[in-house]
Symmetry: none
Amino acid sequence: MGIQERKERERGRRRQQIMIAAKRVFYNKGFARVTMEDIAREAELSPGTLYLYFKNKDELCASLSLRILQYLNMRLRHVSSEKELDGKQKLEALKNTIINVYEFDPLILVNLFRLQSSETLKNLSPELLADIKELFSSSLSAMSDIFNEGIKTGVVIDKKPEALADQMWALFSGIVLWGESKKIMYNNKDYLKQALETAFEVFLLGIKRENRV
Amino acid sequence: MGIQERKERERGRRRQQIMIAAKRVFYNKGFARVTMEDIAREAELSPGTLYLYFKNKDELCASLSLRILQYLNMRLRHVSSEKELDGKQKLEALKNTIINVYEFDPLILVNLFRLQSSETLKNLSPELLADIKELFSSSLSAMSDIFNEGIKTGVVIDKKPEALADQMWALFSGIVLWGESKKIMYNNKDYLKQALETAFEVFLLGIKRENRV
Amino acid sequence: MGIQERKERERGRRRQQIMIAAKRVFYNKGFARVTMEDIAREAELSPGTLYLYFKNKDELCASLSLRILQYLNMRLRHVSSEKELDGKQKLEALKNTIINVYEFDPLILVNLFRLQSSETLKNLSPELLADIKELFSSSLSAMSDIFNEGIKTGVVIDKKPEALADQMWALFSGIVLWGESKKIMYNNKDYLKQALETAFEVFLLGIKRENRV
Amino acid sequence: MGIQERKERERGRRRQQIMIAAKRVFYNKGFARVTMEDIAREAELSPGTLYLYFKNKDELCASLSLRILQYLNMRLRHVSSEKELDGKQKLEALKNTIINVYEFDPLILVNLFRLQSSETLKNLSPELLADIKELFSSSLSAMSDIFNEGIKTGVVIDKKPEALADQMWALFSGIVLWGESKKIMYNNKDYLKQALETAFEVFLLGIKRENRV
DNA sequence: TATGAATGAGCATTCATTCAT
DNA sequence: CATGAATGAATGCTCATTCAT
C-alpha cells in the first residue's frame, strides 16, 4: 500500500468520522437547526477542519445522502443481477431490499427525500450533484430492470418499467415522509415499517398479472 | 351582522390578501429564500403589519397549507357523501379529486408535503396545529370512508380502510415531491400530472377486487 | 417640504452620522482593522442598521471618499469659473485649494488615495463607482481647464493640460501617502502641509513660462 | 567557506525561491486575495515551511519590497558616485534610473508604495523595519547628493536637497499609484511609463536654474 | 529541516421580530 | 390599526499560524 493510498484512506476515515458526528447531531437537534459548529463540537474538531473535508455545509449534508444512495444502489444492483431468482422472486427481493435500506438508516433517508425536493440541490458542486444523479439513475434503472424482467416473463402487467420504478420510488419516499409527520403529529413512532410492508404489498398486487382476471 | 362580526370578516380578508401575496413571492423566489420583507412588499404592507395577522413566519407559511387542506377536505367530503355514486365510481371520483387538488395549486401542495416532515410543525401555535391535524384527519377519514364503502360492497379487497387511505396519501405526496426533484434534476417539467394518473391507476388496480382471480 | 422629502433628508442625516462615526473609528484603529461592529458601536447603532444605509463595508468606506471628492470638486469648479482671476492667479488659487482640501480632512484623503490603487474599486456597486469616476473626471477636468487657460494666456508652457492635471493629482496623492509613511516611520508628524506647499511651488515653477529663459 | 556560511547561503536561496513564488502569485491573484497557502503551493513547499523563512505574512510581503529597494539603492548610489557625469547629466541619469526601476518590477513597486502608507509597517520585526528604513534613507540620501551637487554647481535652484528628494520620491509613488487606478478605472494600460517621463521632465524643468530668467 | 493537518478567533452579513410613533 | 426603522443574535466561512511527527 503506497503512502498516497494510505493518506487517501485516512482522509476517507476522517470524512466518515465527520459524517457520523453530523448524523448524531441531526438526531438530537433536527436538521434545520444544526450549525457547522454543532457538528464540529460533536466530531471533536474545530469548525475550520470541517471545511478541509467538505466544501460547505450543503455538501456535507448531501454527502450523508450519498452514502445511503450508494448502499441502496449496491443492494438493488445485486438483486437485479441475481441469476438464481425468477421474476417473481425478484419482485419480492426488491420489496425486502427497500425495506432493509429503510431500516439501515431511517433518518438519513428522510434527509435524502427532503433533499430531493429542495433548493439545496442547486447549491451543490457539479461533481457531487452528478454523483447523486448517477446513483439515482442507476438505482432506478436497476429497479426498471427487475420490473422489465417481470414484464417479459409475464409476471408483471404491461406498463413501462421506468414508470413503475418511478412509482415505487415515489411510494417509498411518500410513505417515509408521511410517516415522519405522523411521528411528529401523532407521536406514532413505530408505524413506518409496517406501513412500508403494506404499501409495497398493495403495489405489487396492483402490478402482478397473476392477481388479475 | 354585528360590528364584531364585520371586523372579524375584515380581518379574514386581510389574512387572505397576505397569504395570496406570500404565494406569489414563493412562486418567484422559491420557498427557502423568501423573507418576511419580501412578502410585506408584495402585499403592499409593512413587515410589522404581517405580525398583526400571523404570529410568526412559520404560521404564515403553514396557513397557506391550511387553505389547500380545506379545499381538499371539502372536495373529499363531497365525494364521500355523494349518494348518486356507487363504490366503484367513488374510487374513480377520489382519484380525480386528488389530481384536481394537485392542479389547483401545485406549489402550495409541495409546501404542505414538506411541512409534513418538518420541524416547523413543532413551532406552530397549538391552535393552528390542531386545525391542520383536524383537516388531515378529516380528509383521511373521508378517504377511509370511501374505501370502506368499497370494501363493504365487495369492490375493494379486504384491508384496513385507514391503511389504504394512508397509502394513497403517501403515494400522493411521494409522487409530488419526487416530481419536484425530477424538475430540478432533470428539467423534466410536465411529468407530474401523468405520473399521478398512472400511479393512482396502479394503486386502484391493486386494491380492486374485480382485478383479482 | 413634502413628507417624502423630509424622509430623504432624515436618511441623509443618518448616513452622515454613520460616516462620521466610521471616520472616528478609522482614526483610532487604522483602516485595515476596523470592523462593522466597531463602527456600529461608535455610531451607537446595531450592526444591522448600518446595512440599511450602506450596501456593504466597501461601500461605506468608499462613501467617505465620495464626500471629500465632492468637496474637492466643488472647490475646483469654483476656482475654474472665477471670472475675477487671471490665469496666473488661478494657478495660485488651485494650489491653495488643494492644500485646503488636504487640511479639510487628511485622513479621509489617505483613504481616497489608497482606494485609487485598490481592488476594492472592483467590488463597489456600479452606481457608486460611476459617481466616483464622475467626480474624479470632473475634478481633473476643472484642473485641466485652469491649466488650459494658463496655456492660452501664455502663462503656462505648452503641454497637454490633461497631462498636467494628472501630474498635479499624482503629486498630490504621492506627497500625502509618502507623508503618511514618514509619520509612521519617522514619527515626523507635521511634515505634510509644508511638503505640499513646496512641491506645488516647484511644480508651478516647472510649468510657468515666466520662469523660463 | 565554512559550513555555517554555506547554510546561510542555502537559507538565502530558499528565501529567494519563496519570494519569487509569492510574486508570481501576486501577479495572478492580486495582492489582497493571496493566502499563505497559495504562496506555499506555488513554491512547492508546505505552509509551515514558509514560517521557517519568514516570521509572518507581513514580513514576507515586505521582503518583496526590500528587494526592489535594494536594487533601487544600488542604482542610485551608482549614479551618485559616478565621476564621469556632471551635475546636469546626473539629473538625467537619476530620471532614467527611476524609470528603469519602475520597469524592472512595476507590481512590486506598487506593493512598496502601498506599504509606505500602511499599518503593516507597524507589524514588521524591528530588524526588517530597520532595513527598510535604512534603504529608504540611503536611497533618498543618494538622491539628495545628486541634487546637492546640482545646487553647488549652479545647475539646480537653491532649495533644500532633501526636500527635493522627497518630492521626487513622492512624485514617483504618486504617479505609479495614480496610474494603477487609471488601469482599474479606465482600462488605460500603457499610460504609466510615458506619464513618468513627462512628470519627471516637468519636475526637472522646475528645479533647473537654466530654465529660469 | 520540512510537513500539512488542525486550529479557532474573527467578521461580514442576514432577517425574523419588536416597538415607538 | 399600521408603520418601518431598528434591532442583535445567529452563522457560515476564511486563513494566518502552530505543532506533532
